[in-house]
Symmetry: C2
Subunit: 346 residues, 2 copies
């Protein structure tokens, strides 16, 4: 009861009064993937083995809005996180005392201070014996592709963009992950923003005309490029700019040179970020021929029948590490976070 009182949003945990603990039920582990567009939380059964041979089945899943602290602020991020945590346990009919471990994998969280801040907050919600961990979301994405083994490189290109790598001897390196205002070319936000800038340039004569203009105005339900200005500054959330990416891909697949340029630039920047991490960790070995896993995830890399950005990217990356093993995970990053939670116990 003490721990429940420490929670700041007590009403979220009211359901626990009605949950009767069944001794035959195994304990659970919880993984959270907090991004700049949405937050996903899964509850999985604690496995009977030390290692995962396949992704664990999901007992319950909850989804909510963005929890990137740089995008929505600390207070909103924590409220969203506590909501998905209570929501997933309510769906799984488990009290917090039935939880063995929780892992938060959060975009926008990089430094030790950032992690400590969320860890202390999480400590106020769960009983003291629950094993807690906080990582950058890229780590959960890596784990989702390697079944929890922390080795290789992961590229997350969603609303934001980050490359994270772990060498065989446990050294780590990161590139990008700095948010859209500090140069994350290749992220969904950046692609959307570049496309909007291209439309404004076409409008005032700084750049050539492009089919992006009509397509984007239609998508945003606006009647002239000037109206994009009001649209852009009325709401600073990053996700709505990233939502333009499929339009850019569609225009590029129809051959629009400006749209193709935006995407080719994104490929170049994404490949350059992977290269920076691979070189710093020497993942491809001295001769550049060594094989290592490269997990690729995020909306920008999804094949949505437009311009195939992912294939172009892999092609470009193989120029500097030909034996890289690209992996598109079969499970979502939140399950990767749950696997990390499990390994934090064992």
């Amino acid at each position: 009861m003490t721990d429940i009182k420490r929670s700041r949003n007590t009403e979220l945990w009211d359901f626990e009064k009605e949950v009767t603990t069944n001794a035959s039920e195994s304990k659970v582990i919880v993984g959270v993937d907090g991004g700049a567009t949405s937050t996903v939380c899964v509850c999985v059964a604690a496995p009977h083995t030390a290692y995962f041979h396949e992704p664990p089945p999901v007992l319950a899943r909850a989804e909510s809005s963005a929890s990137n602290r740089n995008s929505v602020g600390d207070a909103v991020a924590k409220l969203v996180l506590e909501r998905v945590l209570s929501n997933v346990l309510e769906k799984a009919r488990r009290c917090r005392s039935a939880v063995q471990a929780v892992c938060l994998a959060l975009s926008g969280v990089s430094s030790a201070d950032d992690k400590q801040c969320f860890l202390e907050w999480l400590r106020g919600i769960f009983p003291a014996n629950v094993k807690l961990s906080v990582h950058n979301d890229s780590l959960a994405a890596l784990a989702s592709g390697t079944l929890g083994k922390l080795y290789g490189c992961v590229l997350v290109a969603g609303t934001g963009m980050i490359v994270f790598g772990v060498s065989e001897d446990g050294k780590t390196a990161q590139a990008a992950g700095v948010g859209p205002l500090l140069g994350e070319s290749g992220s969904g936000y950046s692609i959307g923003q570049h496309a909007l800038a291209v439309v404004m340039r076409a409008h005032d004569g700084r750049g050539p005309s492009t089919s992006l203009s009509k397509a984007i105005l239609q998508k945003l339900e606006l009647s002239s490029p000037e109206e994009i200005i009001g649209w852009m500054y009325k709401d600073y959330s990053w996700a709505r700019v990233a939502a333009i990416v499929p339009i850019v891909k569609a225009c590029a697949s129809m051959g629009d040179p400006e749209a193709v340029k935006v995407l080719e630039n994104a490929v170049e920047e994404l490949a350059g970020s992977v290269k920076a991490v691979v070189e710093r960790l020497n993942l491809a070995g001295e001769d550049g021929q060594k094989s290592f896993p490269l997990v690729v995830v995020g909306g920008v890399l999804e094949n949505d029948h437009g311009w195939d950005l992912c294939s172009q990217l892999v092609y470009r990356i193989k120029e500097f590490c030909p034996n890289v093993q690209p992996i598109q995970p079969k499970t979502e990053p939140a399950v990767g976070a749950a696997m990390l939670a499990w390994y934090s116990i064992s």
Copy 2:
């Protein structure tokens, strides 16, 4: 009295109760230059001639914070504007009834709807016989260089960036002026943001190392590039990013290749924006040899003993219009706005 009641911030105008109208005093005109970093308001005597042969002397001057609606929002913009208006008249010891004309020249205001919104608000503050006008700030900058004649081209490169042109037959054209998120390369914000991105790239290996890193960290009083992330997202005001420009110029003048690249890119973008307007209005004539005034203003173009961006820019512009007449105004844009106010009467 009726008009005073219509004002929403009555206390700002309390001073009027103590101002005694002196019949011998001439009427005044008021000009406001509202930018994304600061707002300047001047009160000048209405001239005895129809045209200005030199900038009118300033009776009173007031300065306040940013009033760019896209940066601070409509409510803050209007409060800042009403404050500088009351402040300048208090300093000049004039009631609103002594004002012949007011011109607001505002950055972030482009469309007819934008102007109408501020015009209606202004109408609620001044007596009905005061002539009111609202323009984009670039028009006041042009007027400050041409003594009120609306012909030629103006480039404003401050925190934001805009190019505005007026042809001899009164046609107008604009380039950029879309705010920093929609592609205003060459603005102070954009230069600062690019420099910060260069520092982040140097830090994680995506780009070469640069003297910008140490210089910018020192300026921001931070100890590592990672801290730039927290600094960037804790406050979205544009002016503090633009304040990095002098550091970039200093590093470039010491030969740092990355700093030089950021500024050369800015020059290219500024020249391209001028070119777009000059071509649309045919300001340089069919043979490109015609002379026309090009007023250049804004902090980015000031010669602060670093890398001389303005000279580089003029050199680049003369490649496509060799007989352009660059003008660095002797008076500030707010006085240009006052001159526009005067011409709106006559």
